[in-house]
């Protein structure tokens, strides 16, 4: 991974019909770091991720990937940008018609056109890392929700791209497996230095693993800071949100309390 990429959103607004979801998001994702976006359910975190990879177009505002404004790109130009990305969808989005192995192998075969022995080696390796060894022959319909999620994660990681978007990689996993997956993401990120954007509800775990944390609320980024500073934030919405999830490490650290 020779190159690290930044993503920058400027004044991104998005509505679905009359429902305004994003109301002017300004966000810069630092290159080669793991940035986690937290925020209440249904606030538009998944929508935000989809803007970064050009699956959704903003009504207003710009999306920059390394000095290229991608929100108005189409066809071939957009595909060139997307080749540098991988994405884990919230619902895993595995292809029903392919086995787990076929799913993970899919981008290697279709995008990289690797020879079959290399495909097998890389797929088996990734399946082992997400704890799905020996499950390659199963179809997505035969997996549990957590297993599907991990297969989707393997599919995103196997490409070793410059940017990976993770939409709730650990939701639906038991705490032990969640920790394994977090450790895997961190280890991969430290090794390959890709730019990682993760959406997660795992508070306070995300503070330990992320370099940066940002919070989306009411269609805007209300706070963004390096992980350690974020936990000491005095922003009331941040405080309210992160203290319900964890053992409230902040109350005592608050100035004036």
């Amino acid at each position: 991974m020779s190159k690290v990429s930044t993503i920058k959103l400027v004044g991104v607004e998005k509505a679905f019909g009359s429902q305004q979801v994003l109301r002017g998001v300004d966000l810069t994702i630092p290159p080669g770091k793991l940035t986690t976006i937290i925020g209440p359910s249904g606030e538009g975190k998944s929508v935000l991720l989809k803007h970064m990879i050009g699956l959704l177009q903003p009504d207003r505002g710009e999306v920059w990937v390394d000095g290229l404004e991608i929100s108005r790109l189409k066809g071939k130009a957009l595909n060139e940008v997307r080749k540098r990305f991988a994405m884990l969808f919230q619902g895993a989005a595995l292809f029903d018609s392919l086995t787990v192995f076929g799913n993970v192998a899919f981008p290697l075969r279709e995008k990289l056109r690797l020879p079959e022995p290399d495909v097998t080696r890389r797929v088996e390796e990734k399946l082992a890392q997400v704890g799905l060894s020996g499950m390659g022959h199963k179809f997505p319909a035969e997996l549990s929700g957590g297993m599907r999620k991990r297969a989707g994660l393997a599919r995103a990681l196997v490409m070793e791209p410059e940017i990976i978007l993770f939409d709730e990689p650990t939701t639906g996993l038991d705490p032990l497996m969640a920790k394994t997956i977090h450790d895997l993401i961190v280890a991969m990120q430290r090794t390959f230095r890709f730019t990682a954007v993760m959406v997660s509800h795992e508070i306070p775990e995300v503070f330990a693993i992320s370099d940066w944390v940002a919070m989306l609320k009411e269609g805007k980024i209300v706070a963004m800071a390096p992980s350690a500073d974020f936990q000491r934030s005095t922003n009331p919405s941040v405080l309210e949100f992160i203290s319900v999830g964890g053992p409230a490490p902040l109350a005592s650290a608050l100035p004036g309390s």
């Binding site: 989809k50 990879i53 699956l55 595909n79 060139e80 997307r82 080749k83 990305f85 991988a86 994405m87 969808f89 619902g91 989005a93 595995l94 292809f95 029903d96 899919f106 981008p107 279709e110 995008k111």
Partner: protein, 257 residues
Amino acid sequence: MLTAGIAGIGRTTLFLIREMGRMVVFLSSTTAWLFRPPLRPFQILKQLHFIGFKSMFVVVLTAAFTGMVLGLQGYYTLRKYGSEAALGAAVALSIIRELGPVLAALMVTARAGSAMTAEIGIMRITEQIDALDTMAINPLQYLISPKVVAGLIGVPLLVAIFDVVGIYGGYLVGVDLLGGNSGAYWNSIESAVEWKDVYGGIWKSVSFGLIVTWVCCYKGYYTRMSAEGLGTATTEAVVLASVLILVWDYFLTSVLL
């Protein structure tokens, strides 16, 4: 009241025009992607198996009973005029020119078309189509083009089977059951059916193959994001494809005759 009514008509008209425009764009992009590498012979074979081979049973069944009922009706009608000898011609011409292409296409719509809409619709709802997009693989090329090609090849083949089975069905009732003359049945077919009729039937079936796959894939591709949307899409696909087949059949007949 009145203005509300007029506004409603206007809205519906605009919606219909936009929908038609989208359908045309959908078809032309799919066609454009047909001729771009990589061609996917394996995918086409798979779809041919699904649309063609798996529809064979229902097509044979429909054909047999259509031919039998034509034999029955034709025999009693023709006997009134003392021309039972023309039974073969009556059965064969009705089947080759009209009933074969139309009924086979309607059966394919009901069996394979609705399943295609549901399959693509589920892929839309579960973000599998978005996943293809993020991998820089064009979903039209990967998913839709092979189905359209399979429809263009598969429906004419099914119609050919329909024609043969239908004509034997007429023979079974008109000759074996009611005691008509066997030689006369085949002779009248030989003298009445021209190549023009056969070509006409083939042209019809090719265009029906296009209509079924086009409409059913389109409706699946633009499924609204809910289980209810999936049901609606499937119903609309079957209704629209069936109506288009009958309307287009009238046009073609008036041109071909």
